[in-house]
Symmetry: C2
Subunit: 211 residues, 2 copies
Amino acid sequence: MADTRELLLNAACQLFAEYGFSKVTTRMIAQKANVNLGSIHYYFGSKEELYFETFRIAIDADFPLTIEKLLAVDPNLLTTPEGKAYAIQRLTYDYYNRHYNFLEKWKRQLIFREMFSPSPVYPKLVDKVLKLESDKMMEFYFMLVPNASLTEAFVWAHYPDTQATYYLMAETLIVENISLDFMAELNRNVIKTTTRMMIMLLDLPVPEMLK
Amino acid sequence: MADTRELLLNAACQLFAEYGFSKVTTRMIAQKANVNLGSIHYYFGSKEELYFETFRIAIDADFPLTIEKLLAVDPNLLTTPEGKAYAIQRLTYDYYNRHYNFLEKWKRQLIFREMFSPSPVYPKLVDKVLKLESDKMMEFYFMLVPNASLTEAFVWAHYPDTQATYYLMAETLIVENISLDFMAELNRNVIKTTTRMMIMLLDLPVPEMLK
DNA sequence: GTCTATAAACCGATAGAC
DNA sequence: GTCTATCGGTTTATAGAC
């Protein structure tokens, strides 16, 4: 078949995201993809190169919403407290939804696993994704609070990430020990609470829909 | 030597916490402990049983500060907004410091790894630690906001944990890419910001020292 | 390109000398 | 209790038939 490579890559993305590199065997991948074991080395050379390849996909995320895009629509957005609060709300929701989208969950799962158990891919991941996202978000908070300290801006910029990471990784635990419905409601509540927190922390007016 | 067992256990705690069960080999443990490979099976029977043994230590944490202890000192603590804010501050700081203590960092690291990559230890861990801590904290927030929803209380109860998890796991990444000093200042800032957030979320007065 | 058979390396565990 | 040598099993990777 022509798409053996694609089948393998798909299976690898799911498996590596769920169990991590060392717990996934090439036999598991071949079986899930319904192709022959030898194909892995035919198409990718080695297990490690297949692993690296999954990151090429995970990293190619849809380009995020940025403050520049919001300012292009309304150049005066950051001149009022309500506008600032609105910007936080939009950026936080966008970030959280992109990284906690059930359909593409595996992408962030894969990245988080790599953060916590670094492999040779990790320096590349830092340069191409994590640093860029972090700097972009810190830049935005410095627009809002020009005299903020570096650590303050860092903590603010990473708040949505701390929430997304935790609940993404603990999802199985919560679903198994409580329920799937609870997890879904929790998901809605977390994003709402996180956004409200960000706005309150910066002493801005909380929009009605977040109360 | 009499403390071969102790040496092995020590090495195992550090290694399992840092790299996870599947990436650590018995040979690595024996080498780090400077004892013979055979000793592992002499003292613990198997790699898995040694792994379980590290959890016996990690789980035996110092008993946490509870709202009951605070109420024993001042039974009227929760009758004023200032008292409620004080209770949140004490409990949050206690939780964060216990779980993010640099000296005993490995304990939480080990537990987090188990949460994200469950092994046969995990059901026991859920029952003996995670469920207890979670329920205890949720109970406290229900005292403060009796008509809160389950998910609201859950999100509040787990906020310190989301922060501790994230920064504990990302510590290496931050230290290597920015600096150790930055990490130390970040650490102080995170606990302060988290506590302030908890208090603001519940519409309570923020103590002067947290502003 | 696909498949089977197998090589080469590694790991956990054990046997047995001391 | 400690140590060496080695077994048995699994894994990645490869060689070679088709």
